[in-house]
Symmetry: C2
Subunit: 285 residues, 2 copies
């Protein structure tokens, strides 16, 4: 049996009781280590689970899935995913491979950022399509995701923006030279995401388009959701460029146009200090 | 401290390790018993947690929240919610009350149907606004939610339909006579939801509108997501009227127009038997 087990969002103890029992009895336990991270590392998890974990990077999961699935028809193999196993497409792929090999699978769900963002008080059912914001480079500055943000705003829906993670990336030089030397991991902050968004807003204006988002649009920055030291800040997109939310992982919400009074009241708990605010929408909180 | 603790979706062991630790040390533990249910009852939870649970119905949470919050400034109180604490609005309300009373709170997240539906293979980020389908009565047959389904379809987005739950409802007669006699709980099945949807589709046609959904629209019925005996069936809306998914809880997904090949491949794992199918879209699976 292949078990796909969500680890939740905070630390080692966010695994479910059921998940922990399965981890402790599987013959091999993989930790998916490229779509998200917990606030604790592999060693802490190993100590708590009482099991050795095998790190599975993107390359391995996509190209060597058969290693992961080896003997899973006659023994139990666990594949651990931060959040819920169905946040990222790749895990559908693993299930399809398993099924083709006649291997049964089971999913042990857990919290995902997709539902846990509800902690800021915005109503989950009012979220539109989720977008991903990637690190820009000098030569690659994609803006196409912004159409979805606009569409959500035009439909009065909130947009959850998942922020880029670069783990086990090679520099261009190392890639070309075939050197397996990896850069330190990078996690996009709310500040960086907001700055890129404001640049897109400017570009849209320059092209005479209505960006449907302005410097004053009410946003919510979230950091380490589910962890003891989680931080939430509600403020304008402009304020998101400078708000200090601490270490990774960060997520950003661009609110829809109209809000329920309960949503506004909840957001006011996380409002960036009003004295430093230049924004009407924040004064209104 | 007020703890809002998600119980996940399946049985007693779907609580997180962290959640269980908190439950075991709190002075009072409430179980929210009206927005969702697990596959096991209160007694099973009590046995597993080693704690007495106080059932909190809608009336109590909305009108007597102060009882729940009593002494939560000097002791620890847990409020357990099936799924994640932020699936339903009411829990924002409880947090706001706590905050006004100077009571700190913490959330221990868990899987919610909102993210766990990913188990059918549809990509979470492609879901539009979530809708709720309520039981129709002879005199109350709301259709307005259907506009959201149409909008999602027009934007190529899937719609998660949460199906009605009637717990601790009084008959009109008992309500009028002030008798606190309650009807047995009712949980809407995928069959009932599909039948109501088809009636709305017919009504729209009669009025000359384009319903954007037909008998042949590809849907996914889900039952007891996260439990050992979970069932998933992919088929047409027409097929959803008769598919047998067993006991509650059920959810229904109306797919968006265009689908990713990986989504189709995953859905084919759950396809209603092709021989009995009259539908092109299912043959295509």
């Amino acid at each position: 049996m292949l078990y796909l087990i969500g680890l939740g969002l905070g630390d080692a103890k966010d695994i479910t009781v059921k998940g922990l029992e399965v981890v402790r009895r599987c013959s091999r336990v993989y930790l998916e280590a490229y779509t998200s991270v917990l606030t604790v590392g592999k060693e802490t998890l190993e100590e708590f689970y009482g099991r050795k974990l095998i790190l599975a990077d993107r390359e391995e999961v996509e190209q060597e899935a058969n290693n992961i699935l080896k003997d899973a028809d006659i023994s139990d193999v666990a594949f651990l995913v931060v959040g819920d196993p169905f946040g990222a497409t790749t895990h559908s792929d693993l299930i399809l491979r398993a099924t083709k090999l006649g291997i049964s699978y089971r999913v042990i769900h857990n919290a995902s950022i997709v539902n846990a963002v509800g902690c800021c008080g915005l109503q989950l059912y009012k979220f539109g399509e989720t977008v991903s914001i990637v690190f820009w480079t000098d030569t690659w500055r994609p803006e196409s995701f912004f159409d979805k943000v606009k569409k959500n705003r035009q439909n009065d829906m909130h947009t959850l923006c998942l922020l880029d993670i670069k783990v086990k990336e090679q520099s261009l030089e190392n890639l070309i030279k075939g050197r397996k030397i990896y850069e330190p991991p990078r996690y996009m902050s709310v500040n960086q995401a907001a700055q890129q968004l404001l640049e897109i807003v400017q570009n849209q204006r320059t092209r005479g388009e209505d960006p449907a988002v302005t410097e004053e649009t009410l946003c919510v920055g979230l950091a380490r959701v589910g962890a003891e030291d989680q931080k939430i800040a509600a403020g304008t997109l402009q304020q998101m460029c400078t708000v200090d939310l601490g270490g990774p992982l960060h997520s950003l919400i661009i609110t829809g146009g109209s809000m329920h009074p309960l949503e506004m009241e909840m957001l006011s708990l996380f409002s960036i200090s009003e004295t430093s605010s230049e924004s009407q929408s924040i004064d209104g909180l």
